[in-house]
Protein backbone atom coordinates (compact mmCIF):
# COMPACT_ATOMS: atom_id res chain seq x y z
CA UNK A 1 0.00 0.00 0.00
CA UNK A 2 1.33 3.42 -0.97
CA UNK A 3 0.29 6.53 0.91
CA UNK A 4 1.21 10.12 0.09
CA UNK A 5 1.15 12.40 3.13
CA UNK A 6 1.01 15.98 1.88
CA UNK A 7 2.04 18.58 4.46
CA UNK A 8 2.60 22.31 4.27
CA UNK A 9 5.30 24.30 6.03
CA UNK A 10 3.04 25.66 8.77
CA UNK A 11 2.26 24.21 12.22
CA UNK A 12 -0.85 22.64 10.70
CA UNK A 13 1.41 19.85 9.48
CA UNK A 14 1.52 18.37 12.99
CA UNK A 15 -2.21 17.61 12.89
CA UNK A 16 -1.83 15.79 9.57
CA UNK A 17 1.21 13.90 10.85
CA UNK A 18 -0.65 12.98 14.04
CA UNK A 19 -3.36 11.36 11.93
CA UNK A 20 -0.64 9.24 10.28
CA UNK A 21 1.25 8.47 13.48
CA UNK A 22 -1.83 7.39 15.45
CA UNK A 23 -3.08 4.98 12.80
CA UNK A 24 -2.27 1.29 12.52
CA UNK A 25 -0.82 0.71 9.05
CA UNK A 26 -0.16 -2.58 7.28
CA UNK A 27 3.46 -3.75 7.75
CA UNK A 28 4.37 -3.35 4.10
CA UNK A 29 3.09 0.24 3.82
CA UNK A 30 5.06 2.78 1.79
CA UNK A 31 4.62 6.31 3.07
CA UNK A 32 5.81 9.30 1.07
CA UNK A 33 5.87 12.62 2.88
CA UNK A 34 5.44 15.39 0.36
CA UNK A 35 5.62 19.13 0.68
CA UNK A 36 5.21 21.69 -2.06
CA UNK A 37 6.99 25.02 -2.02
CA UNK A 38 5.03 27.78 -3.72
CA UNK A 39 7.41 30.24 -5.39
CA UNK A 40 6.87 33.80 -4.24
CA UNK A 41 6.47 35.81 -7.43
CA UNK A 42 6.46 39.56 -7.02
CA UNK A 43 8.09 42.19 -9.23
CA UNK A 44 9.22 44.32 -6.31
CA UNK A 45 11.12 41.49 -4.62
CA UNK A 46 14.55 42.98 -5.53
CA UNK A 47 13.70 46.07 -3.52
CA UNK A 48 13.76 44.12 -0.28
CA UNK A 49 17.32 43.01 -0.99
CA UNK A 50 16.69 39.45 -2.12
CA UNK A 51 16.32 37.85 -5.51
CA UNK A 52 13.44 35.48 -6.05
CA UNK A 53 15.88 32.57 -6.50
CA UNK A 54 17.53 33.35 -3.15
CA UNK A 55 14.13 33.40 -1.48
CA UNK A 56 13.13 30.15 -3.18
CA UNK A 57 16.39 28.59 -1.99
CA UNK A 58 15.57 29.57 1.59
CA UNK A 59 12.01 28.24 1.25
CA UNK A 60 13.33 24.95 -0.11
CA UNK A 61 15.90 24.59 2.68
CA UNK A 62 13.19 25.19 5.28
CA UNK A 63 10.88 22.68 3.58
CA UNK A 64 13.66 20.08 3.45
CA UNK A 65 14.20 20.51 7.19
CA UNK A 66 10.48 20.00 7.80
CA UNK A 67 10.47 16.87 5.64
CA UNK A 68 13.44 15.36 7.48
CA UNK A 69 11.78 16.06 10.82
CA UNK A 70 8.48 14.55 9.64
CA UNK A 71 10.22 11.47 8.25
CA UNK A 72 11.97 10.86 11.58
CA UNK A 73 8.62 11.07 13.41
CA UNK A 74 6.91 8.60 11.07
CA UNK A 75 9.84 6.17 11.10
CA UNK A 76 9.86 6.22 14.89
CA UNK A 77 6.12 5.52 15.14
CA UNK A 78 6.03 2.92 12.34
CA UNK A 79 9.43 1.17 12.19
CA UNK A 80 8.26 -1.39 9.61
CA UNK A 81 7.00 1.24 7.18
CA UNK A 82 9.14 2.36 4.28
CA UNK A 83 9.22 6.14 4.54
CA UNK A 84 10.19 8.40 1.64
CA UNK A 85 10.14 12.14 1.21
CA UNK A 86 9.68 14.47 -1.73
CA UNK A 87 9.97 18.21 -2.20
CA UNK A 88 8.23 19.84 -5.14
CA UNK A 89 8.01 23.41 -6.34
CA UNK A 90 4.83 24.79 -7.86
CA UNK A 91 1.10 24.86 -7.25
CA UNK A 92 0.16 22.35 -4.52
CA UNK A 93 -3.18 21.65 -6.20
CA UNK A 94 -1.47 20.11 -9.22
CA UNK A 95 1.84 18.98 -7.73
CA UNK A 96 0.25 16.75 -5.07
CA UNK A 97 -1.94 15.01 -7.65
CA UNK A 98 0.99 14.60 -10.08
CA UNK A 99 3.23 13.17 -7.40
CA UNK A 100 0.54 10.67 -6.34
CA UNK A 101 -0.12 9.69 -9.96
CA UNK A 102 3.56 9.13 -10.78
CA UNK A 103 4.10 7.10 -7.65
CA UNK A 104 0.89 5.13 -8.26
CA UNK A 105 -0.32 5.94 -4.75
CA UNK A 106 -3.35 4.30 -3.20
CA UNK A 107 -4.19 7.23 -1.01
CA UNK A 108 -3.40 10.87 -0.32
CA UNK A 109 -3.64 12.25 3.19
CA UNK A 110 -3.84 16.03 3.36
CA UNK A 111 -4.98 18.69 5.81
CA UNK A 112 -8.08 20.73 5.09
CA UNK A 113 -9.29 23.97 6.58
CA UNK A 114 -12.99 24.01 7.28
CA UNK A 115 -15.11 26.40 5.31
CA UNK A 116 -17.95 28.37 6.73
CA UNK A 117 -20.38 30.91 5.30
CA UNK A 118 -18.53 33.82 6.91
CA UNK A 119 -15.20 32.93 5.37
CA UNK A 120 -14.92 34.69 2.03
CA UNK A 121 -11.56 33.41 0.87
CA UNK A 122 -11.20 29.84 2.09
CA UNK A 123 -8.04 27.92 1.34
CA UNK A 124 -9.50 25.13 -0.79
CA UNK A 125 -6.46 23.07 -1.71
CA UNK A 126 -7.75 19.89 -0.02
CA UNK A 127 -11.19 19.85 -1.67
CA UNK A 128 -9.67 20.69 -5.07
CA UNK A 129 -7.31 17.73 -4.74
CA UNK A 130 -10.26 15.60 -3.60
CA UNK A 131 -11.92 16.33 -6.95
CA UNK A 132 -8.90 15.77 -9.18
CA UNK A 133 -6.91 13.06 -7.37
CA UNK A 134 -6.28 9.78 -9.12
CA UNK A 135 -6.63 7.80 -5.91
CA UNK A 136 -8.62 7.80 -2.67
CA UNK A 137 -8.09 10.83 -0.47
CA UNK A 138 -8.29 11.52 3.24
CA UNK A 139 -8.85 15.11 4.32
CA UNK A 140 -7.74 15.69 7.90
CA UNK A 141 -9.87 18.51 9.24
CA UNK A 142 -7.65 21.02 11.00
CA UNK A 143 -8.94 21.86 14.45
CA UNK A 144 -8.26 25.59 14.52
CA UNK A 145 -10.02 26.25 11.22
CA UNK A 146 -13.35 27.25 12.79
CA UNK A 147 -11.69 29.77 15.11
CA UNK A 148 -9.81 31.31 12.19
CA UNK A 149 -12.96 31.47 10.11
CA UNK A 150 -14.73 33.32 12.91
CA UNK A 151 -11.90 35.84 13.27
CA UNK A 152 -11.62 36.66 9.57
CA UNK A 153 -14.79 38.76 9.12
CA UNK A 154 -14.07 40.77 12.28
CA UNK A 155 -10.66 41.79 10.95
CA UNK A 156 -12.17 42.59 7.56
CA UNK A 157 -14.92 44.68 9.16
CA UNK A 158 -12.34 46.80 11.02
CA UNK A 159 -10.41 47.48 7.83
CA UNK A 160 -13.57 48.50 6.01
CA UNK A 161 -14.55 50.88 8.80
CA UNK A 162 -11.09 52.44 8.79
CA UNK A 163 -11.29 53.05 5.06
CA UNK A 164 -14.74 54.62 5.34
CA UNK A 165 -13.55 57.17 7.93
Amino acid sequence: MKVVVAIDQTDNRFEVLNAVLNRHWPKDVFIKILTVVEPFEWDGIDKIGQTSSELLGKQKAHAQEILTQARALVEKAHPTASVHMELRVGDPRTEVVMSATHWDADRIIIGAHGTSPNRLLPCRIGPVIARTATCSIELVRLKDSDEEACQTPIRRQKVELKGAV
Binding site: M1, A130, I137, E138
Partner: protein, 150 residues
Protein backbone atom coordinates in the same frame (compact mmCIF):
# COMPACT_ATOMS: atom_id res chain seq x y z
CA UNK B 1 -14.20 7.14 17.69
CA UNK B 2 -17.30 7.70 15.57
CA UNK B 3 -17.25 6.91 11.87
CA UNK B 4 -20.09 7.88 9.54
CA UNK B 5 -20.58 5.77 6.42
CA UNK B 6 -23.07 7.32 4.00
CA UNK B 7 -24.08 4.98 1.19
CA UNK B 8 -25.98 5.72 -1.99
CA UNK B 9 -26.00 2.33 -3.71
CA UNK B 10 -25.02 -1.28 -2.98
CA UNK B 11 -21.60 -0.78 -4.60
CA UNK B 12 -20.76 1.99 -2.14
CA UNK B 13 -20.77 -0.43 0.78
CA UNK B 14 -18.41 -2.79 -1.05
CA UNK B 15 -15.94 0.06 -1.52
CA UNK B 16 -16.29 1.43 1.99
CA UNK B 17 -16.17 -1.98 3.68
CA UNK B 18 -12.97 -2.79 1.76
CA UNK B 19 -11.38 0.38 3.07
CA UNK B 20 -12.58 -0.08 6.66
CA UNK B 21 -11.39 -3.69 6.76
CA UNK B 22 -7.84 -2.69 5.76
CA UNK B 23 -7.24 -0.76 8.95
CA UNK B 24 -7.11 -1.47 12.64
CA UNK B 25 -9.56 0.84 14.34
CA UNK B 26 -9.77 1.54 18.08
CA UNK B 27 -11.91 -1.12 19.83
CA UNK B 28 -14.57 1.38 20.86
CA UNK B 29 -15.17 2.61 17.30
CA UNK B 30 -18.83 3.18 16.45
CA UNK B 31 -19.98 2.95 12.85
CA UNK B 32 -23.15 4.56 11.56
CA UNK B 33 -24.32 3.61 8.10
CA UNK B 34 -26.78 6.11 6.69
CA UNK B 35 -28.72 6.34 3.48
CA UNK B 36 -30.23 9.56 2.21
CA UNK B 37 -33.48 9.15 0.32
CA UNK B 38 -34.31 11.60 -2.44
CA UNK B 39 -37.39 13.74 -1.80
CA UNK B 40 -40.40 11.60 -2.75
CA UNK B 41 -43.40 13.02 -4.61
CA UNK B 42 -46.00 10.75 -3.00
CA UNK B 43 -46.28 8.91 0.31
CA UNK B 44 -46.43 5.63 -1.54
CA UNK B 45 -43.19 6.40 -3.32
CA UNK B 46 -41.56 7.37 -0.02
CA UNK B 47 -42.63 4.12 1.60
CA UNK B 48 -41.24 2.12 -1.30
CA UNK B 49 -37.94 3.98 -1.17
CA UNK B 50 -37.81 3.64 2.61
CA UNK B 51 -38.38 -0.12 2.46
CA UNK B 52 -35.65 -0.64 -0.14
CA UNK B 53 -33.29 1.61 1.85
CA UNK B 54 -33.87 -0.48 4.98
CA UNK B 55 -33.04 -3.66 3.04
CA UNK B 56 -29.92 -2.09 1.63
CA UNK B 57 -28.78 -1.00 5.08
CA UNK B 58 -29.45 -4.49 6.46
CA UNK B 59 -27.20 -5.97 3.77
CA UNK B 60 -24.60 -3.30 4.46
CA UNK B 61 -24.49 -4.17 8.17
CA UNK B 62 -24.11 -7.86 7.33
CA UNK B 63 -21.29 -7.05 4.89
CA UNK B 64 -19.41 -4.91 7.42
CA UNK B 65 -19.92 -7.38 10.28
CA UNK B 66 -18.35 -10.13 8.17
CA UNK B 67 -15.19 -8.10 7.65
CA UNK B 68 -14.84 -6.64 11.15
CA UNK B 69 -15.79 -8.87 14.06
CA UNK B 70 -17.89 -7.29 16.80
CA UNK B 71 -18.12 -3.65 15.78
CA UNK B 72 -20.87 -1.36 17.01
CA UNK B 73 -22.89 -0.70 13.88
CA UNK B 74 -26.12 1.24 13.68
CA UNK B 75 -28.10 2.53 10.73
CA UNK B 76 -30.33 5.46 9.87
CA UNK B 77 -32.37 6.71 6.94
CA UNK B 78 -32.84 10.40 6.15
CA UNK B 79 -34.41 12.20 3.25
CA UNK B 80 -33.38 15.37 1.49
CA UNK B 81 -30.29 16.68 -0.23
CA UNK B 82 -27.55 14.07 0.12
CA UNK B 83 -24.61 16.38 0.86
CA UNK B 84 -26.61 18.63 3.18
CA UNK B 85 -28.07 15.73 5.15
CA UNK B 86 -24.70 14.02 5.51
CA UNK B 87 -23.16 17.18 6.94
CA UNK B 88 -26.10 17.86 9.25
CA UNK B 89 -25.91 14.27 10.49
CA UNK B 90 -22.15 14.54 11.00
CA UNK B 91 -22.60 17.66 13.14
CA UNK B 92 -25.46 16.19 15.19
CA UNK B 93 -23.76 12.86 15.79
CA UNK B 94 -20.37 14.59 16.29
CA UNK B 95 -18.48 12.04 14.27
CA UNK B 96 -14.70 11.99 13.88
CA UNK B 97 -14.62 10.78 10.31
CA UNK B 98 -16.83 10.42 7.24
CA UNK B 99 -15.97 7.73 4.70
CA UNK B 100 -17.71 8.32 1.40
CA UNK B 101 -17.50 6.65 -2.00
CA UNK B 102 -16.84 8.80 -5.05
CA UNK B 103 -19.28 8.10 -7.87
CA UNK B 104 -18.93 9.72 -11.22
CA UNK B 105 -19.86 8.93 -14.79
CA UNK B 106 -21.05 10.21 -18.11
CA UNK B 107 -24.72 10.67 -17.27
CA UNK B 108 -25.94 13.80 -15.49
CA UNK B 109 -27.32 11.71 -12.63
CA UNK B 110 -23.94 10.06 -12.04
CA UNK B 111 -22.09 13.35 -12.37
CA UNK B 112 -24.36 14.86 -9.72
CA UNK B 113 -23.78 11.89 -7.46
CA UNK B 114 -20.04 12.60 -7.70
CA UNK B 115 -20.63 16.12 -6.50
CA UNK B 116 -21.88 14.78 -3.16
CA UNK B 117 -18.41 13.58 -2.17
CA UNK B 118 -16.90 16.88 -3.38
CA UNK B 119 -19.36 18.88 -1.29
CA UNK B 120 -18.76 16.72 1.77
CA UNK B 121 -14.98 17.03 1.29
CA UNK B 122 -15.26 20.81 1.14
CA UNK B 123 -17.72 21.49 3.93
CA UNK B 124 -17.69 18.63 6.45
CA UNK B 125 -16.90 19.48 10.08
CA UNK B 126 -14.59 16.47 10.48
CA UNK B 127 -12.01 14.45 8.56
CA UNK B 128 -13.25 12.94 5.30
CA UNK B 129 -12.06 9.95 3.29
CA UNK B 130 -13.17 9.87 -0.35
CA UNK B 131 -12.79 6.40 -1.87
CA UNK B 132 -12.64 6.04 -5.62
CA UNK B 133 -13.72 2.82 -7.33
CA UNK B 134 -11.08 1.17 -9.60
CA UNK B 135 -12.90 2.13 -12.82
CA UNK B 136 -12.85 5.81 -11.84
CA UNK B 137 -9.18 5.54 -10.90
CA UNK B 138 -8.13 4.29 -14.34
CA UNK B 139 -10.12 7.08 -16.06
CA UNK B 140 -8.62 9.68 -13.75
CA UNK B 141 -5.09 8.39 -14.33
CA UNK B 142 -5.53 8.62 -18.09
CA UNK B 143 -6.87 12.16 -17.78
CA UNK B 144 -3.99 13.16 -15.51
CA UNK B 145 -1.35 11.81 -17.90
CA UNK B 146 -3.04 13.67 -20.81
CA UNK B 147 -3.08 16.89 -18.77
CA UNK B 148 0.59 16.46 -18.02
CA UNK B 149 1.44 16.00 -21.72
CA UNK B 150 -0.32 19.22 -22.63
Amino acid sequence: MKVLLPIVGKDDMRLIAGFVANFTWPPSTEYKIIHILPMAVTDEQYEQNFASAKNMLKDAVAQLSELIPGPQISTDVRSGSAAGEIMTYARQWQCNMIIVGHRTGKSIKEALAGSVSSAVAAEAPCSVVVIRPPEVLSEKKEAASEREKT
